[in-house]
């Protein structure tokens, strides 16, 4: 449930759905996000620049020349977005992943922590039905949950300076996919050849907040010969 709306400076508001980070809370956030996106498209509200969902909040930015915070807040409060049907807007995406040792950089660390062997860890990961909590930090990077507790591990104490694009990492109950080569501290368990972000496409990010993800294991040869559309 939407608990509180507050101002972020003079051209933003935050819709706060409480302190819980779980699917139930995030689904409420994404319902409002879908509603705002739809309202902007149908010109039900003017001046909205960006709408950024995260685990438990939706941040809305607007153009002060067009609209003021009071009007945006009133629009949200007077709207009945609870009827927005969740599944209509979201999809299931299958993501190929290669768990070869060459790509699973932190498998030893995870085996020690989880007391499971490599195959068991892979099986756990493949069996998880992931949910896209949010996308961001850099373009197209998804934050997926929830891993089962037996796979939980902390971030690396010293982040790697360079992680390859396509690397799949886990920390605590979350899983991410690096969409750009970047530094990072997640436990790397594999790599996908799938290009999750391409600015030239009409929909530049393959995933959207609220989508579902299932990983599919592929061998190295398939990773190397994979062709992105």
């Amino acid at each position: 449930m939407l608990k509180k709306i507050s101002n972020i400076g003079d051209c933003g508001i935050t819709c706060d759905f409480g302190d819980e980070v779980d699917k139930k809370t995030n689904k409420e956030v994404i319902k409002l996000f879908n509603f705002i996106q739809e309202s902007v498209k149908n010109k039900k509200i003017k001046g909205i620049l960006n709408y950024t969902p995260s685990y438990n909040k939706l941040i809305i930015n607007f153009d002060l020349e067009e609209v003021k915070s009071k009007e945006v807040i009133e629009f949200i409060k007077s709207s009945d977005y609870s009827k927005t049907i969740f599944s209509e807007k979201n999809k299931l995406v299958e993501i190929p992943i290669c768990y070869d040792e060459e790509f699973a950089l932190d498998i030893k660390r995870l085996e020690e922590k989880t007391k499971m062997n490599f195959d068991e860890i892979v099986k756990e990961h493949l069996n998880t039905d992931f949910f896209v909590y949010m996308i961001g930090f850099v373009p197209g990077q998804p934050f997926l949950g929830d891993l089962r507790k037996n796979l939980y591990h902390d971030r690396l104490d010293t982040p790697r300076v360079k992680i390859d694009k396509g690397s799949v990492g886990i920390v605590e109950n979350f899983c991410t996919i690096y969409t750009f080569e970047s530094p990072g501290g997640w436990n790397i368990i594999g790599k996908t050849p799938l290009d999750l972000f391409n600015i030239k496409k009409k929909k530049p990010s393959m995933l959207s907040p609220g989508d579902s993800v299932k990983f599919k294991s592929v061998i190295k040869k398939d990773l190397l010969t994979f062709k992105n559309e």
């Binding site: 902007v40 960006n50 930015n61 530049p204």
Partner: protein
């Protein structure tokens, strides 16, 4: 045949910018766009372009460009030291905030911004740039936008649209606000900070450091003590938010900010003072003043009204 500028020197951080790219932050794409909106508007106004036409933004040292083809009607906005070098090698000092005609073979040498960071170079008819998701703005960090998402590089060519019709020379007397007070509203996590730090933030000075770019401005001053939690659950970022990481030194998030972040925010710069803030050079001391929403909104009306003077 074609009209273009040849880049003989790219400058430190020269990119094409317009008002920004919106509606994609939920996919991880930051708004980007011009850092100083007033100067951006002014540069377009001076050459008779529409307000949102893409311009070349430079920081500190700008580019050295040679005009190939026909003449061009151009302007440089800001406080900028630049020269015009004609075909015969004669050097003439340029005047900023004033439109003028460059002839074929002329070079424009943008040497430096004066006691400020950003300036703009605009051309009547606009540069020939393709929009990416509604904007020509370059977001270097994600390699998105004009010039293949990169800063200007030597030897590249900048094409522009041919202009027709009469040009009207325009001039504007422009000066920066030298006052170093930046007005802010309370941030979402203002109550994470100790009473002393809340007071310090509004009474002590915070110095602009060299670690400042289009993404953020790192400040240095009295350590801000977070008494609640060093990290928050990652949430969407708004331009002008002042976040405080574990070391207690504030960072103002600017136009190329990450789209989400997990540090507590003590304050947010009001829109009316954003342009003034981004022009503050490293070494200068800032003072933050707390205002409420109604003051911020009326300051914005004054800020918008000031564009009418251009």
């Amino acid at each position: 045949m074609s009209n273009y500028f040849k880049i003989l020197r790219p400058g430190i951080n020269s990119t094409f910018q317009d008002l920004g790219r919106f509606g994609f932050q939920h996919l991880g794409i930051a708004p980007s766009g011009c850092m100083d909106k007033s100067l951006f508007y002014l540069s377009n106004k001076l050459v008779g372009n529409k307000a949102s036409e893409g311009a070349l933004e430079f920081a500190y040292q700008g580019p050295l460009l040679e005009l190939v083809g026909e003449s061009a009607f151009v302007a440089v906005s800001g406080k900028v030291n630049f020269n015009i070098i004609n075909k015969n090698g004669e050097i003439k000092q340029g005047a900023s905030n004033e439109s003028f005609i460059l002839s074929s073979g002329d070079k424009i040498d943008i040497l430096s911004t004066i006691n400020s960071v950003y300036g703009y170079f605009s051309i009547f008819g606009g540069f020939k740039l393709d929009k990416t998701k509604g904007s020509i703005s370059t977001l270097v960090r994600a390699k998105i936008g004009s010039n293949n998402g990169e800063k200007l590089k030597s030897e590249e060519k900048i094409f522009f649209n041919k202009f027709s019709g009469d040009v009207k020379k325009n001039k504007f007397k422009f000066d920066f606000d030298n006052d170093s007070t930046i007005r802010v509203m309370q941030g979402l996590q203002f109550d994470y900070f100790s009473n002393k730090s809340q007071e310090d933030f509004f009474s002590k000075e915070y110095k602009v450091t060299k670690l400042t770019d289009r993404m953020g401005m790192r400040l240095e001053g009295e350590k801000l003590e977070n008494i609640k939690s060093k990290n928050i659950k990652s949430e969407g970022i708004t331009k002008g938010s002042i976040q405080v990481p574990g070391d207690g030194q504030p960072i103002v998030l600017l136009s190329d900010h990450p789209t989400i972040g997990g540090y507590p925010k003590i304050a947010n710069v009001i829109t009316a003072d954003y342009d003034k803030l981004v022009q503050k050079t490293p070494g200068l001391n800032l003072k933050f003043k707390l205002v409420d929403l109604s003051i911020a909104e009326s300051a914005f009306q004054d800020y918008i009204a000031s564009f009418n003077n251009f």
